[in-house]
């Protein structure tokens, strides 16, 4: 921890400026709390899953990637519990990204807006930068 970080940490007392840097972090956090409340996993199971993620080498020393680890831990735990598999999440996340792209700016992003995977996707080289979609 640098001197400067420590200073800024203490300078923001007593209220933390921002608990969550982005909305998805708050949602990932709240989903975890809700899933524990409904008995999907115990808090010890959660702590173990989170610990396994955050102790991996490469974790940022300023902690800015903390909720990225949090999300990975949640996905791993839900996969291990048979609630949601990685492939299912991957597919649905891609659908959400397409839906976002197909939604005009300023309008709410709805999954129904997903136009579906691009048709006749020939190969992995075609996907980027084209005018499709």
């Amino acid at each position: 921890m640098s001197r400067r970080e420590a200073k800024s940490a203490t300078a923001t007392l007593p209220a933390d400026a921002q608990v969550f840097a982005e909305p998805w972090q708050a949602e990932a956090f709240a989903m975890t709390v809700a899933l524990h409340d409904s008995g999907v996993f115990s808090w010890s199971e959660w702590a173990d899953a989170l610990s396994a993620e955050v102790k991996q080498p490469g974790a940022a020393s300023d902690g800015h990637d903390y909720y990225e680890h949090w999300l990975a831990a949640l996905e791993n735990l839900l996969s291990a519990k048979g609630v949601a598999g990685k492939r299912e999440i991957d597919a649905l996340a891609a659908a959400w990204e397409r839906a976002a792209h197909a939604t005009p700016h300023g309008k709410p992003i709805l999954l129904e807006n997903d136009p579906g995977p691009a048709e006749g996707r020939g190969g992995p080289t075609e996907g980027r930068g084209g005018t499709a979609g």
Binding site: M1, A30, D37, A100
Partner: protein
């Protein structure tokens, strides 16, 4: 690069994955999106270190409460309406002239949410988690806290089941102060142990 093309909405990969999870979990009836909003609001605005400050100030002015806090912190804190959601137990550790207490979670980021809200970024970051145990005096120095060499530093490593609240020493010159006024002197860092209670102005 110009930005005159028609800007679509973008979801970054993490946001898209969170949405995907929400969709799956909602379809399975495991979460209720409205409840998610309530949880976010609670942790962003309603729970925070003011809760812990009230616990500390009450312990300063009411000896009976202080005794209960030493014996059964979970019950003492619960009596003020602050209960942990994760079924965790609380332990209060009292600073004295001889001993200063410092809390860390080396494992991940276990933290007494019910009394302190969510942890600051540095609490969750690797440097603090790894160094608080090895070099507590050095870490405290970085927070601007230099303790006498004779003061012992005890480091408490939190777990999912047991979380710690540091009760800092009551500042001198506050004998006649109300509980409410005292609570204003109790900072979040003082309750983690990376600071002391504020001195009266």
């Amino acid at each position: 690069m110009s930005h005159d093309h028609n800007h679509d909405n973008e979801l970054d990969p993490f946001a898209a994955r969170v949405r995907a999870l929400e969709t799956i979990l909602t379809q399975k009836g495991l979460i209720d999106p409205a409840a998610i909003d309530v949880i976010v609001d609670t942790y962003e605005t309603k729970i925070g270190p003011r809760n812990g400050a009230k616990v500390v100030a009450k312990a300063w002015v009411e000896p009976d409460f202080a005794v209960l806090l030493i014996r059964d912190a979970t019950a003492a804190i619960g009596s003020l309406g602050y209960t942990g959601r994760q079924g965790e137990h609380m332990q209060a550790v009292f600073n004295t002239a001889d001993t200063h207490n410092l809390v860390v979670c080396t494992l991940c980021s276990c933290y007494p949410w019910s009394v302190l809200g969510l942890p600051p970024v540095w609490y969750k970051a690797p440097p603090y988690r790894s160094r608080a145990v090895i070099d507590p005096r050095g870490v405290l120095g970085e927070f601007g806290l230099t303790l006498p060499a004779t003061t012992k530093i005890r480091v408490w490593d939190s777990t999912a089941e047991l979380r710690y609240l540091v009760v800092p020493m009551r500042p001198k010159g506050t004998d006649s102060w109300s509980e409410e006024r005292l609570a204003d002197l109790v900072t979040r860092d003082a309750m983690i142990g990376t600071g002391l209670a504020r001195e009266p102005a």
